[in-house]
Symmetry: C2
Amino acid sequence: MSLFLVSANKSFDGWHKQYTHESKVLNCSMRFAIYLPPQAASHKVPVLYWLSGLTCTDENFMQKAGAQRLAAKLGIAIVAPDTSPRGEGVADDPNGEYDLGLGAGFYVNATQAPWNRHYRMYDYVVNELPAIVETHFPVSDLRSIAGHSMGGHGALTIALREPERYCSASAFSPICNPVNAPWGQKAFSHYLGEDRGLWRQYDAVELMKESRLPMPVLVDQGLEDNFLSEQLKTENLAKVAADTKYPVTIRMQPGYDHSYYFIASFIEDHLRFHARHLSEQ
Amino acid sequence: MSLFLVSANKSFDGWHKQYTHESKVLNCSMRFAIYLPPQAASHKVPVLYWLSGLTCTDENFMQKAGAQRLAAKLGIAIVAPDTSPRGEGVADDPNGEYDLGLGAGFYVNATQAPWNRHYRMYDYVVNELPAIVETHFPVSDLRSIAGHSMGGHGALTIALREPERYCSASAFSPICNPVNAPWGQKAFSHYLGEDRGLWRQYDAVELMKESRLPMPVLVDQGLEDNFLSEQLKTENLAKVAADTKYPVTIRMQPGYDHSYYFIASFIEDHLRFHARHLSEQ
């Protein structure tokens, strides 16, 4: 398994690097970014996986969230995958819309043609990418997972389904209940077909109802987020968390929107939250 | 004088906003960004002007530098203008290169056709924009100025020529001696013609030789910056500063490059430096 270095930038005395590799799971070449804090020069550090939202690549979070400052202090690596398979032959939305296909993998394993040839982002994020990262970099197998919007959906659903693999999960503006929201319904009907039972395996609200091993979860949601009521449905997550006593902290932040300005404003809290739970292992 | 709000994002309990306005100096519509820290809700705050580098707009610094966190703590507004005039009829490099014309105003007042119709970024940054900002926002007339690369050149030259107007200046990776570097020579020959006496009025090394009212200056330069030896010539600035005993601190940072990852790594030091000098007035 070979990695090809695309770029390297020193950052807060650590390193931001981009790599490409051939993904067997996704059946295409993929790029990801890793931030290695200075502590990684002397010992293995834990890893926070960051899943980005619709239209993003590995670059949005690394350039805009301001996360490296505190990751460097706390000694946490951050890995940011792309948001979908890419490249020639990878299916895209026939109408060219941003919410399906390229940049919109929704962190599911597609079962429907033509998507099932490449769109297996769930397996990529959960299995293939951590195996690569843990082979090639000075990191431990202590993992946490976080994300934004579609990536917040990814982080929550993966954490709920794979509680043994992660110490904690957090999300900004997550799509909490995609089976009841237009973005989710469009993506799931294409990727997963009409079997709603399968859809529920990728829905944080549905998964939380049957959670077997709760983990600490932090959610931040801006109250001025234009997508809140139609697409994100945070209130449904709050309700099921209350019903099941799941250990989620949901913070509704007045005045904040869906942008990276919001993420940057609260990323410190998320990094400290993950650092605490990664160090408790 | 009217401002039109383009966007507003809550950020660290303050506000990032973009505005457009008709610039009389530049003879076109211009966009700028302002970060207003939470303190601006109750009293006037000082302003740091940030000048960006080649190809940038007002957005690069606001999205990538991670400056709002500390600006919000220190109570400093940040204003980021665009890097050139824009719009229909504004001259551009006939060869479409990135280092002349749009995105490459070099913070000079052009004297040569066709550039002299719009390219008067020096007057825009020094006079017109501060007058607008100080009329429309809760800011004081205490100003500092900073920038990156071409914008570092702008910040240093403006500070050296207008010491009464600024409390302090700083730069990341500035073009220190453009009259002796390819970027500067190309831009100045187009904007200013062949009068090298005029060129020297826009060259930090030349201006420092004749400085009448020194101000505190901080410069950070990455030692792995690909542009260092050919375009930036930091050593010429260090030499003239030593000769004239100008109060510049120049820090050569091992391993860092020309990117915003470098800026983000040290922006805290620059903001604290400016806050100290803004509060001493």
